[in-house]
Point group: C2
Chain length 268, copies 2
């Protein structure tokens, strides 16, 4: 375990850090490949550089949906992923996704009939689970369902600031928001509490996964099926944003999709 800070304290610190980042104006130093040595301090510099280049290629493969069905990040990329998740690069990557989405939304000719919706995934899209993942190896350790349920029940996940900003812009444009999440329906109460405390104050629908769908079943048909229900109910999905490709593929995808970076885990 790289982190020795107690979970609750760490989560609180992270909230403070993330909130302060929303207001940060000066650019911090971007990550350097040379920094990526925390996973394996015994590596020589040149081997560490090769590992970093290789982990960067792995991350690009994940982000482009070339690499699928993986269960945990490569062991040698643990330091790389943790460095990335706390880096300015990650924040800028999120900012680009959110900025492109905002520019697209601002350019739409909206009917303003209240049927135009934007679909958001929740975990690691509107809220960040970095507190949970920082505590469990940044995706290098197996998914811990008990601890994650506890984390969800605590309702303390911070917002991803760039996405919160996009959310406010969409509402101001008159686009309604629908959340479609892989969280289960029995987690509705803490999810509502967490969304509100993170700044997401209003939404058209909050769709949670039926308890009958277990961890092993693919979320892709569930998520595309829920989007189809929206279309059948007369909504027009003008945009769709998520951190997993299973949020974004499968008709109806929505008029345009936006991928939020996430090198920590894969949901198929």
């Amino acid at each position: 375990m790289a982190l020795r800070i107690p979970r609750g304290v760490f989560a609180s610190l992270l909230v403070v850090l993330l909130v302060s980042l929303v207001h940060a104006t000066s650019a911090r130093e971007p990550p350097r490949l040379e920094m990526v040595t925390s996973a394996a301090p015994g590596l020589t510099v040149s081997r560490a550089r090769a590992a970093a280049a290789s982990c960067a290629s792995w991350r690009l493969g994940v982000e482009t949906n070339n690499i699928r069905g993986w269960y945990s990040i490569p062991a040698e990329c643990r330091g790389y992923v943790s460095d990335y998740m706390f880096s300015d690069q990650f924040r800028q990557d999120c900012a680009v996704a959110a900025r492109e989405a905002a520019a697209y939304a601002e350019g739409l000719e909206l009917a303003g009939d209240g049927r135009e919706v934007w679909v958001f995934d929740i975990d690691d899209t509107v809220l960040t689970n970095l507190p949970y993942y920082a505590d469990t190896g940044f995706g290098a350790e197996p998914y811990n369902a008990t601890y994650f349920d506890e984390y969800v029940a605590n309702a303390t996940a911070p917002p991803l600031p760039e996405v919160l900003e996009l959310y406010e812009k969409l509402l101001a444009l008159g686009i309604k928001v629908v959340f479609i999440t892989g969280r289960h329906d029995y987690q509705r109460e803490p999810t509502v509490k967490n969304l509100r405390s993170a700044g997401y104050h209003t939404w058209e629908k909050l769709v949670l996964k039926p308890s009958s769908l277990t961890l092993g079943s693919s979320v892709l048909p569930y998520k595309s099926g829920e989007r189809q229900k929206l279309v059948d109910a007369g909504y027009r999905i003008v945009g769709n944003m998520g951190d997993q490709w299973s949020d974004l593929v499968g008709a109806p995808e929505g008029d345009r999709t936006f991928k939020v970076p996430d090198p920590m885990y894969y949901v198929g």
Copy 2:
């Protein structure tokens, strides 16, 4: 112009370089963010770092299809893109795409009835146009149709070595290859010549774009339409690889798609 070497000489040198890379076994030093200063030498180090982080975010946005409809790379990213295109990182990024594709193909239960095909785009997928782009600002200068036609007519584009290796593996597995390219039908002869000289010796079909489809028209319906014709003719598209999202989206996409990195240009 950063390069002063005559075009023909440069292209020949690049062929030698790329061919030698196929056989390279030792890892070269990966690119460092600090190196990315060639575009704007007057920048301070910290501003160059910020620009590099920003260009990396822009590239990720392009690769994930978040950023669409762009005409040229951001001016401040010219040095970043040229460094990337000649870097070990680019080669490793290509290798990951090709390796994942090969692993997927090797895991398929093939019917072996001669109807299983793999669709490849040509430009910057099986062949690299780096000689053309190195000579025209790595995507920072406007597309030069006259010069590009000349480049195609020369039939000297080198293979992307990682994709050539994948091609050989697919053929060995009994998967047939179909090329669907944005090159025009009047360019068939130099295209055949170039494919053969680059090592692509056999294919089931080589589909070129009708001359009636001009540069301004979207290639997406053309490419998905050609894939539909394959399906209608009884082929099963087990895989599909391209450097542009317009190669990969639009039903029928193929059973699985693979994105080759390309931060130099956008084809919608």
